[in-house]
């Protein structure tokens, strides 16, 4: 269960990597964006997303008929790595590209695919994730938001929370209860609906992050009408679909590289100082990053080859260990190079340090806590 494929990049892949890298470097130079840690959550920039869409770099693995490029999972992996390593502002289209697209491709109707996917691929249509609710926390099955059947659709009432960037998104795929809650069969009666976030009855309220930044939201539904053609997959199958959706997001490089800019700046500072002892310590960080990256790429390869049944455990491991690694980066780095972390510091090291520290509490919580992941891994391992 631990044997993952190794990946040797082809020359074409290496060339693609350079293409992306050069593109990003150019835009950093031009001032299109300022690199930032954790940019896949906090770097919202619709005009940059459009630019990326124009390059064909959103939904690049999807069928061409839906606006995709039919490129490989490994190509997408490379692309994502380059975005993260350069701290590019990809947050606006992130979830639509990573989760919504694959979900719709798997469960969506032909109409939905034709309508949404090309828009997403252009970088013009953003989706929010509608799983968490107040008091549900790690216990997704306790979802309370309900949808009642009416003529031609559903009436939704309830509330979602921790919705990243809902305030700039166009739609949400919400997990809702389409049959009454039954404590015994909590997983039954859940369904997924696409909700237009501009629809009547939708209210979006910001939840300020501890820095005061606005990433998260509460989204309230007050008799929101959702037409029948916005049901994703089967009514009652929402639990399974929701879990599948989560699996897509466990093992990507964003579970390792959210603080990469700081690693990079650490090494640069140490090189400037000619500090060999410090670089030896940094090499330990790099070895951890390298070890995780092997896993993460291996999972991507496994996903590409369709070997989904062996993906769950290593994917959970990437997230559990990767996010702890991300969290450890500032704690290690600050012992190697003197710093006064400040969000508006001129020195990059101090700025990335502040970004990393202040964002770090989220790494091991968002999208399923480390504790939940441990349990999933253990249950998986023991069952084999």
């Amino acid at each position: 269960m631990f044997q993952l494929p190794t990946v040797q990049f082809t020359e074409e892949q290496e060339a693609f990597r350079l293409e992306v890298r050069n593109f990003l470097q150019e835009h950093i130079k031009k001032g299109t964006f300022t690199p930032k840690c954790d940019s896949w959550l906090s770097g919202v920039d619709p005009s940059f997303s459009k630019l990326i869409g124009e390059k064909g770099w959103i939904g690049m693995t999807w069928p061409k008929k839906y606006g995709g490029q039919e490129r490989s999972t490994i190509d997408r992996y490379i692309l994502t790595e380059e975005f993260l390593a350069s701290g590019a502002p990809v947050a606006a289209h992130w979830f639509a590209d990573r989760q919504t697209g694959p979900l719709l491709l798997r469960y969506g109707t032909e109409e939905q695919k034709q309508f949404f996917l090309p828009k997403i691929a252009k970088g013009e249509c953003y989706f929010a994730i509608g799983l968490s609710e107040p008091n549900s926390g790690s216990d997704l099955a306790s979802v309370r938001t309900r949808a009642e059947k009416v003529e031609g659709g559903w009436i939704v009432n309830g509330q979602k929370i921790w919705t990243s960037n809902a305030h700039i998104c166009h739609y949400m795929i919400a997990l809702v209860r389409t049959s009454p809650f039954d404590g015994k069969y909590k997983h039954a009666g859940l369904s997924q609906l696409i909700i237009d976030l501009r629809a009547e009855g939708v209210t979006i309220v910001p939840i300020k992050f501890l820095t005061g930044e606005h990433h998260f939201n509460e989204v309230f539904f007050d008799n929101v009408f959702v037409p029948d053609n916005m049901v994703v997959g089967e009514i009652g199958n929402g639990w399974e679909q929701g879990l599948a959706e989560l699996a897509f997001e466990r093992s990507g490089p964003e579970r390792i590289l959210s603080t990469y800019l700081l690693v990079d700046e650490l090494v640069q500072e140490l090189k400037r100082q000619g500090n060999k002892e410090g670089l030896k310590q940094a090499a330990k960080l790099l070895s951890r990053l390298w070890g995780l990256r092997n896993l993460s790429i291996g999972v991507a390869k496994l996903l590409e080859s369709g070997d989904a049944k062996n993906v769950a455990i290593p994917a959970s491991l990437v997230k559990a260990i990767g996010t702890k690694f991300e969290q450890s980066v500032p704690e290690v780095a600050r012992l190697l190079v003197e710093t006064y972390p400040k969000l508006d510091a001129e020195r990059k090291f101090d700025r990335y340090m502040a970004q990393s520290i202040l964002h770090s509490p989220g790494f091991t919580i968002r999208g399923g806590t480390t504790e939940i992941l441990y349990g999933m891994v253990a249950k998986g391992v023991v069952a084999k």
Partner: protein
């Protein structure tokens, strides 16, 4: 500590509990500060608690003062209490007259003194914009400066506390006094003790918030403190809190008996572990809610993250211990067992 002292601290704690609510701490982010709380402290004689009565102070001792500082840390009180009282401690060390308005201080290098005038730039001076006085170390002298004579550029640390740039251009020295190297080292020690006090308070509060949350929050149908991994988190927090408090108390005892002060070095070094653990574990325990601005947790974790890189660093103290070990032949065990309860002057 005497019962009398405990009573004073109880009063101070109740005052802080009543007046320093989360909203009051938040005012910092609008560039304001808690003048009312400052007034309360003033009215209760707390600003001058370690200033001897004959000099017009309230006549407590350093242990009292450190405990008050700990309490301001425990409530994240947005007032320059530690700064003002330490500035006065600096003045006293130089045998200079203390001040009774808001003051701040700097032990940074880089100032120059010529003809009774000081020039240079100081980074990240706490609370400068709200302070009347600056007490600074300039070429082994302790000097009092009126901040009206300085240019101040506002800035803030990761917790939103004022950390300003102070530019001095031939600023007039109000009073000054030459210190010995030993005195300067002692100042660094006591400054570190102040930091330890603040940090201890914040750690206590984080522990309290976490235990409380673990009882209130339910998941999968039961309070989360019933889950073994949350128990592990609670135990880690309890451990770091107990160690921090014991370290702080030992520091107080050492300072009090004027026995300097490997206690301070060890405590400060040990707080690095404590801060890493306490901030990470408490946030993990609180999960999403703890990452919101609305919840109070970040008022303490952000302060710990900021404070640990301010003032004399743990790295300095590790170096201090390393030098001591390199330059002394005594057996390590003899050295360690002497640090508690016996004088080990450097």
């Amino acid at each position: 500590m005497s019962e009398m002292k405990e009573m004073i601290l109880d009063v101070a704690e109740r005052m802080l509990e009543d007046h320093v609510t989360k909203d009051v701490v938040d005012v910092l982010e609008k560039g304001e500060w808690a003048k009312d709380v400052w007034k309360l402290f003033e009215d209760n004689g707390m600003i001058s608690v370690a200033v001897p009565e004959e000099k017009g102070g309230a006549g407590g001792d350093l242990e009292d003062l450190l405990n008050l500082v700990r309490l301001t840390g425990k409530y994240a009180a947005p007032i320059p209490f530690a700064e003002t009282t330490f500035a006065n401690f600096l003045l006293e060390t130089g045998n200079l007259e203390t001040v009774d308005q808001v003051a701040t201080y700097s032990l940074q290098e880089g100032l120059s003194l010529q003809n009774g005038q000081i020039s240079g730039t100081l980074d990240n001076v706490p609370w400068a914009r709200h302070a009347k006085h600056l007490v600074a170390l300039v070429q082994k002298q302790i000097a009092l400066i009126d901040l009206a004579d300085a240019t101040i550029q506002p800035g803030s640390n990761m917790a939103g506390e004022p950390r300003d740039t102070v530019i001095l251009n031939n600023a007039k020295v109000q009073s000054s006094s030459l210190l010995t190297d030993e005195q300067i080292f002692h100042l660094k020690s006591i400054e570190t003790a102040f930091k330890i006090a603040l940090m201890t308070g914040a750690i206590e509060k984080i522990n309290q918030l976490s235990v409380q949350y673990s009882k209130e929050r339910e998941q999968f149908g039961r309070p989360i403190h019933r889950f073994q991994l949350v128990q592990y988190q609670i135990a880690q927090l309890a451990g770091e809190t107990a160690i921090a408090l014991a370290a702080f108390n030992n520091v107080c005892a050492a300072v009090q008996s004027d026995k300097v002060l490997h206690e301070i070095a060890f405590a400060r070094i040990r707080f690095e572990d404590a801060i890493t653990t306490v901030t990470a574990v408490s946030h993990q325990l609180h999960a999403a809610i703890g990452t919101t601005h609305e919840h109070a947790l970040h008022q303490y974790t952000r302060r710990l993250w900021s404070w640990r890189d301010e003032g004399t660093s743990a790295d300095y103290w590790s170096g201090h211990i390393a030098d001591y070990l390199l330059n002394h032949d005594d057996d390590l065990w003899a050295y360690l067992t002497k640090t508690t309860g016996a004088a080990v002057k450097n």
